[in-house]
């Protein structure tokens, strides 16, 4: 397998993999159980709270980061 190189109509292998990758993720996700409410609260709920613009502006005000590090 030393010289294996995928080329489908000259396309980049990353591009060849991109479309089935996206299709598989969507189709399989739609066919399988959704994440638990606990996971949704832990990640999506937490991020929804933290990623409000007002929170980010507060972070800008609070973090006067120095230039040395």
């Amino acid at each position: 397998m030393g010289n294996l190189a995928i080329s489908w109509w000259g396309l980049h292998p990353g591009l060849i993999a991109f479309i089935p990758n996206l299709a598989a993720f969507i189709v399989v996700s739609l066919l399988t159980p959704k994440p638990s409410q606990e996971v949704v609260d832990k990640f999506h709920g937490y991020l929804a709270k933290k990623l409000k613009m007002s929170e980010i502006i507060d972070d800008f005000k609070d973090n006067q980061v120095g230039i040395n590090e």
Binding site: M1, G2, N3, L4, A5, I6, W8, H12, P13, G14, L15, I16, A17, F18, P20, N21, L22, A24, F25, I26, V27, V28, S29, L30, L31, T32, P33, K34, P35, S36, V39, V40, K42, F43, H44, Y46, L47, K50, L51, I56, D59, F60, D62, N63, V65, G66, I67, N68, E69
Partner: protein, 437 residues
């Protein structure tokens, strides 16, 4: 003094400096995994900005980019434009990643996925995919180190010396200080490579007359006029290529060697500032390379084939003092090392968090985990060194097939997606290989 002398001079001096800076920055990190892998989540603006650029720019900036614009014209500027797409991914991924890392203690690009999908096997699977992808890229960079030293010394220094040297030097500062040492040395290398890049361009620009209007006019009305257009003299950089480069650019904040920086930043503000500056300066930096080829054509129009990729060192050797060949080498070697060291830390984080701590020793103490991280780092770098001697094309293809898996991190911020969906995407490259072969 000969070019060989200056190359050896800068090679020795700068590598000693990198090791000293690495050792200095490793002071006081203690024996905690958070300190070793994500620098205590304390990296500030300039270290992050310079580190991002140093990691982003490889020796391609000195060699391949000039060769591409020499052959085709301004089209390679697309790679500067996609830095804007990359910056979008830095913001989309970097800020949520920082918040989650701070809240739940994540340190690798896969341990968030283990929690998000409630299965350590999901993290392991995606982590292994990222290891394969990153090792392919790491191998290419190590090959670049060997080829650079071999090429610029006209074969006096063998290929293997560059590969072994870059491995030993990186190990000597990454083992003691981990990501903190990586970040400081990266920042220094970022300054070196950007400075030498612009010095090289300035030398070429002056040799071509030092007047942009005159340089442009040398092509207008000639058979080479298309050098100044898109897709260029050779239709390589079409608008389709620009589009897909932009699409792929949106994944690049998820590369393990970039992702570790989102955890290591001191605050979201650092990520925002670093991203905006990278987006602003990136195209400007690629601008020099896109124009560098046409300018080199004015000075030396007759190069063909592989020689075009070496157009910058060839012309610098002819029109400047041998000292500048040494500087050019130093800049290119710094670019390679900064990218490779970040990759090594990225896969080491996955090896420690998603393999060692998740499966081999879940009860590991901090001390044991740091030791495991150092061992993992050493093994990955030695593996990269061995691979760079055999250069398996199979690894490159497999790595590219795993590239779209980088979207999995972005998708994981959406409620719609499930662990089974993610597993199916990671297994997809295997299916593609079976279908095509």
């Amino acid at each position: 003094m000969t070019p060989l002398f200056w190359i050896a001079f800068f090679f020795i001096i700068l590598n000693v400096v990198y090791i000293v800076v690495g050792a200095f920055s490793a002071r006081g990190i203690g024996r905690s995994l958070e300190a070793y892998l994500v620098a205590k989540r304390g990296l500030g603006n300039w270290i992050t900005i310079l580190g991002l650029m140093a990691t982003w720019f490889s020796a391609y900036m000195f060699l391949g980019l000039y060769g591409a614009s020499y052959r085709t014209g301004l089209g390679p500027f697309v790679q500067g434009y996609i830095l804007i797409a990359c910056s979008v991914s830095f913001l989309l991924l970097g800020i949520p990643t920082w918040f989650l890392g701070k809240k739940y203690g994540y340190m690798s690009s896969a341990d968030f996925l283990s929690d998000r999908y409630e299965s350590r096997y999901v993290g392991l699977l995606q982590g292994l995919a990222w290891i394969i992808f990153t090792m392919a890229m790491l191998m290419v960079n190590m090959i670049g180190a060997g080829a650079l030293l071999h090429g610029l010394t006209n074969g006096v220094i063998p290929f293997w010396v560059g590969v072994v040297a870059i491995t030993i030097i990186m190990l000597s500062y990454l083992i003691p200080g981990g990501t903190r040492s990586m970040a400081w040395v990266d920042a220094l290398q970022g300054i070196i490579l950007l400075t030498f890049l612009w010095i090289s361009f300035y030398i070429l620009f002056q040799a071509a007359g030092g007047n942009m209007v005159e340089i442009v006019n040398k092509f207008v009305g000639t058979a080479e006029e298309k050098l100044l257009t898109i897709p260029g003299l050779v239709p390589q950089w079409t608008y389709g290529v620009w589009f897909f480069q932009g699409v792929f650019g949106l994944t690049w904040g998820a590369f393990p060697h970039m992702y570790i920086r989102w955890y290591a930043a001191r605050s979201p503000k650092v990520i925002i500032i670093a991203t905006l500056i990278t987006a602003a300066l990136g195209p400007l930096i690629f601008w020099h390379g896109a124009w560098g080829g046409p300018i080199a054509r004015v000075i030396e129009p007759g190069l063909t084939g592989a020689a075009t990729d070496s157009v910058l060192p060839i012309l610098i050797a002819r029109i400047a003092s041998p000292l500048f060949i040494g500087l050019l080498f130093a800049g290119a070697f710094a670019a390679i090392m900064s990218t490779t060291s970040s990759m090594a830390m990225g896969v080491s984080a996955i090896g420690t968090r998603d393999i060692y701590r998740a499966f081999i020793n879940p009860e590991a103490t901090e001390n044991q985990a740091v030791t495991a991280s150092r061992i993992s780092l050493t093994l990955f770098l030695l593996l990269g060194m061995i691979l760079s001697f055999s250069q398996p094309q199979f690894l490159m293809t497999l790595g590219m097939l795993f590239l779209p898996g980088d979207y999995n991190l972005v998708r994981s911020f959406m409620v719609l997606f499930t662990g089974h969906g993610l597993i199916s995407t990671v297994l997809m490259p295997g299916l593609l290989l079976v279908l095509f072969y």
